[in-house]
Symmetry: none
Subunit: 245 residues, 2 copies
């Protein structure tokens, strides 16, 4: 599967209050492969204050940021708009989690412009703003502290989009050693444990079963088997030839 | 949904540079139901600067933050330690994503103390610090900008933990060996592997990191540690006294 790109996704900050949060959001967006940042109903913000938080690596996102007075204008040419809210109420309709909506957004964005809208630090998005959205997401949080910093909310949503767009690397599911490799290794372990007097020759399986269980839990790969067999070989050698140190 | 229980999880900031990031991390942790924050190798930081970013809602996390001079001491009573890194290299071993490891950590934390360690803003965690970790996670990011702000990295990992955390199901999760038991075992393994000439005395850590990761994946219990140490003792004896068979 080819990685989807997020070129058609924009982060829209509606009425943000602090330049630092805008800069921080720019950095988060770029971390997650999103390049378009829009500010509506606020600003312009001082470049210096934004870039301090964006770092110079995301200064390009800050410099390309678009300003709109009105949220409706900012969203005019998007085919799909998602609002974010911490508050839930019957007037706001059902909300999805970022994880639930991310695969759909990543897919939609291949042929459509998608905007994700975040409200101000203190008030979030108004009902009026949410009415411009096709879907609403709420980030799951602890009841102990529901208020998330704006840029951290941006990070979580962008991270979910990025994770949904980029398939996991194949290296994360390494090939495990097969039964033949494992049996050869266990035979060798058994021999060497007898050599060093760890296993009772009358009942060698007593400890072997514990050792097998332990190693089985690790999910050994072919490379791990090679390491373990290398150690066994070296033990046998040293037992016959004495210590190296 | 019943509240997720992450009472046994701690966020450890190793050598953070900015009080604001520490405060921000406190807020993120509390957003995601994690209450224990530890700072090692840095500070103390000015309370005011931390609480500005934490907001007064997370001031309790800031006030309860524990300081340690040394990372090893900070981690001494944790059974499972996860390091975070942006950099990958063969010397660092394979890394998991936060999403891959979160379910396991959430479950382990029901009966074990789990620490998640984050390095400094500019340098991350050193190889030496990563050697104290049983597993390493890397947050997936865009190649366009790999550097994530410290508190945003904390947020993503805590968010994944919170999302994965399930109410205790009453299933039995055995107590794992704690960091002290593991470190003693690893020291002994290293010595014996040097004795038999398996490790290069000039660069003993090259293979040790693979061996540690392999054993960490098994989730060693105290009994497993005893078996492994027993084998090491017997190898040392046999190397000096010759084979039994």
């Amino acid at each position: 599967m080819t990685a989807a790109n997020l070129d058609n996704v924009a982060v829209v900050l509606h009425r943000p209050r602090y330049a630092g949060n805008v800069g921080s959001a720019a950095r988060c967006a770029k971390n997650m492969g999103i390049r378009r940042l829009i500010c509506s109903g606020a600003g312009p913000f001082e470049r210096e204050a934004m870039v301090t938080m964006a770092t110079h690596f995301a200064a390009d996102i800050v410099d390309a940021m678009e300003y709109y007075d009105d949220l409706r204008d900012a969203l005019a040419d998007f085919q799909y708009v998602v609002g974010t809210t911490a508050r839930l109420g019957s007037a706001r309709g059902p909300a999805l989690t970022p994880r639930e909506i991310a695969p759909r957004l990543a897919e939609l964005s291949q042929n459509n412009r998608v905007a994700v809208v975040f409200g101000s630090e203190d008030r979030g998005l108004s009902n009026r703003a949410l009415h411009l959205c096709h879907a609403v997401v709420t980030i799951p949080v602890s009841d102990a502290m529901r208020s998330i910093n704006l840029s951290h909310a941006v990070m979580i949503v962008c991270y979910e989009l990025f994770t949904a767009a980029v398939p996991p690397r194949g290296t994360f599911t390494p090939r495990l050693a097969d039964a033949r490799e494992l049996e050869g290794m266990y035979d060798q372990i058994k021999e060497v444990l007898k050599e060093i007097g760890f296993l009772n020759p009358q009942n060698p399986d007593y400890w072997m079963i514990h050792i097998k269980r332990l190693l089985a839990r690790a999910g050994l790969q072919a490379r791990d088997v090679k390491i373990i067999r290398g150690i066994c070989r070296q033990v046998s050698w040293a037992v016959r030839n004495g210590p190296r140190t």
